[in-house]
């Protein structure tokens, strides 16, 4: 990706992330969707930190490598927490918050242990390899969890438009990311594939901001209209 195109995508992404936070404050939903806001605030902070280390130490420096992989792992972790917070919203009325938190922590620990076992054999750059592995595995866990959450939304006949669209946008984001990772692992020779990742980074804040701006917490929809084939 050329420098100017990368800058445009970076600025757009950061602007959209801030737009979501501003929008949720304006809609008085900042605390209600605190973890979604926290994720975007951390994303902005990480982007600034990466930019700083890039300008100061250069693209091939160890400092930039550490900054990139650690912030990436931190962001994936924040997105995982945001996803679990969506679970809490969907299952809020069933009063299973405690079990949800315990399961989420166990799953996170399990993923971290699995990631460690994969990279434990390597001797050099263990911590960055672990951060990369954890990030990739958490993305996969995130995709599966979003799929399960979508099933719960349909089963529980969730009517809150905002919540439904937040979950769907996250599902789109995770599956598109997983497809891009797979395409890269298949050794894609097309440079366009490298553009997809940063563009996807813009999609999530765009769709969430759109949802936050357009709908209030009281906006409802008919759950039967969500399934493609009526049952």
């Amino acid at each position: 990706m050329s420098g100017s195109a990368a800058s445009i995508v970076w600025y757009s992404g950061t602007a959209l992330e801030l737009a979501f936070v501003v929008c949720s404050i304006a809609r008085k939903s900042f605390t209600r969707y605190f973890f979604l806001n926290l994720y975007f605030l951390l994303t902005v902070g990480s982007s600034l930190a990466r930019q700083f280390t890039l300008e100061r130490f250069g693209l091939t420096s160890d400092q930039y490598r550490y900054a990139y992989f650690y912030t990436d792992a931190l962001l994936t972790l924040a997105l995982y927490v945001a996803l679990i917070s969506l679970y809490s919203h969907v299952f809020g009325e069933l009063r299973v918050g405690k079990y949800l938190r315990v399961t989420a922590v166990m799953l996170l620990l399990g993923t971290a242990l699995f990631s460690y076992s994969v990279v434990a054999q390597s001797t050099d750059r263990l911590s960055t390899k672990f951060a990369y592995e954890l990030s990739q595995n958490l993305y996969f866990v995130g995709l599966v969890l979003t799929y399960v959450l979508w099933g719960a939304v349909l089963k529980l006949r969730e009517t809150r438009t905002r919540l439904v669209q937040f979950v769907l946008s996250l599902g789109l984001y995770f599956s598109a990311y997983a497809a891009t990772y797979a395409l890269l692992n298949m050794g894609s020779k097309y440079s366009a594939v490298y553009l997809i990742g940063p563009l996807l980074g813009c999609f999530l804040p765009l769709s969430w901001t759109f949802t936050m701006w357009r709908h209030t917490d009281d906006t409802r929809l008919v759950p039967a209209q969500l399934v493609a084939v009526p049952r």
């Binding site: 995709l143 799929y147 979508w150 438009t161 439904v164 669209q165 769907l168 946008s169 599902g171 789109l172 599956s175 598109a176 997983a178 497809a179 990772y181 797979a182 395409l183 692992n185 298949m186 765009l206 769709s207 759109f210 701006w213 357009r214 709908h215 906006t219 929809l221 008919v222 209209q225 969500l226 399934v227 493609a228 084939v229």
Partner: protein, 133 residues
Amino acid sequence: MMPALIFVISLATLLMFFVSYCRSLMASSSRHTLSKEVRDVTGIQASASAGDFARVMQLLSLCPERPDDRTGLQAVEVYYAILGMLNKLTARMVPSLHLWAEQERAGCANFAVVLLDRRIAFSREILAQQGEF
């Protein structure tokens, strides 16, 4: 082999989430009652048919955009195009799928009509505000 499998599964879930996302956009406008103006302009009385989409899109391009409806419209436009391709491919082979795609395309057209209604109301508001000065 494994990346190819993950790629196929991811594409399938991507498609499923995309269809549901578009349906959630369309569902959020399904309770809207069309105003007399939009019924007169489009000639659509109760609900639109699949073929009305292109015409309504042309009318939409004539109205000033509302800040919050662009993203949704683009997603539904892509959905309509995918359904159009599916329709052409399956028209003769799978009649039930063809019927479903036609219903979905009609839903897309309905969504566009509701958007047109909102844009007309928005234009009126702007004109009214300008009239105050």
